[in-house]
Symmetry: C3
């Protein structure tokens, strides 16, 4: 099973939780058990699994990443000027693999799945693929 999702981001750097969309799709497809690959189709936006409770974690997370890979860098050669977002994407990962059991994602209490925008706002896409088993 394969599906493509769209989302519109609204900030330059942003973590948007997509757990609910993924779980809704799992139910709509009637999937019971297997694995799910969630893959960003971009080189300046990734996917990660992180805290779904305190929204301050997202703020801290994005600020800290920006400190490690600052937007402005005197030595960057890439003409588009978004080298930092490429590094952030490879750091969190362009994709994540999740486990599905009894029709639900196997996540810890505080885990949520996030689409990570690192060069927005933009129209974005991610692909979801399930292997049942």
């Amino acid at each position: 099973m394969l599906a493509q999702f769209h989302l519109q981001t609204s900030a330059h750097a942003q973590m948007i939780e997509i757990t609910t969309e993924l779980e809704k799709w799992i139910r709509s497809e009637g999937i019971d058990n297997g694995i799910m690959i969630v893959s960003s189709l971009h080189t300046t936006a990734g996917i990660t699994v992180n805290e779904n409770a305190d929204p301050d974690v997202k703020t801290d997370f994005l600020r800290r990443l920006e400190e490690v890979y600052p937007w402005e860098h005197p030595k960057d050669m890439h003409m588009e000027g978004n080298t930092a977002s490429h590094l952030k994407t490879s750091t969190v990962g362009h994709a994540q693999t999740l486990i599905i059991s009894n029709g639900q994602l196997v996540l810890g209490t505080w885990q949520g799945v996030y689409f990570c925008e690192f060069d927005g706002p933009r129209n974005r896409k991610y692909t979801v693929k399930v292997i049942e088993g």
Copy 2:
């Protein structure tokens, strides 16, 4: 096939090799070929694959990560105070996908699978899922 493993970490930051536990489980389940997802169920502990020989690599690895994402940060807003461990978890990954061939994990000579504690010591859980094929 799905299983949940528990472990007790003993330090604030710690890399615990779990390769042997995973391979033992593969044998006990009689799995020959496929892939295995090993997934931490926490947002402050992850999974990575790294060197299994010189224990100094772990020491250096954790110290260097701490320098990049220091525990104390004047701008952090997250009340729990463990923002750094969230960043470390997304950096190494909450989960890894491994290949199984002829009843064994396909790993290089120096590769081992590690549970990475970034906010311990704690009781921790990880889930293992195999898709045969």
Copy 3:
């Protein structure tokens, strides 16, 4: 389906695109749909998905990573002296999972798959495993 690929890197740090090799293999094996795990068999070389157009991205990417995890570090204990490459490998990931649809990798317009050398030049190996479905 399982295969092992070899490559010779030619620099200390280098990103080598392997998308074409992977797609050629998919065609030669007649794979239509599924997922593909591409896994480095080393602890000082990883796999990532990033921009396939402007070569300056690779230059910036490797320089920025080196600034975050510098080769020389006064506190490193690991005798081989390549601690930085271990951190870079876990940061980008030792492996990536890709989606295959209609005989092709599902990648965005600008996405390419890269073997990332962090302690070369060396002879390197990576394993590719496909689960069809």
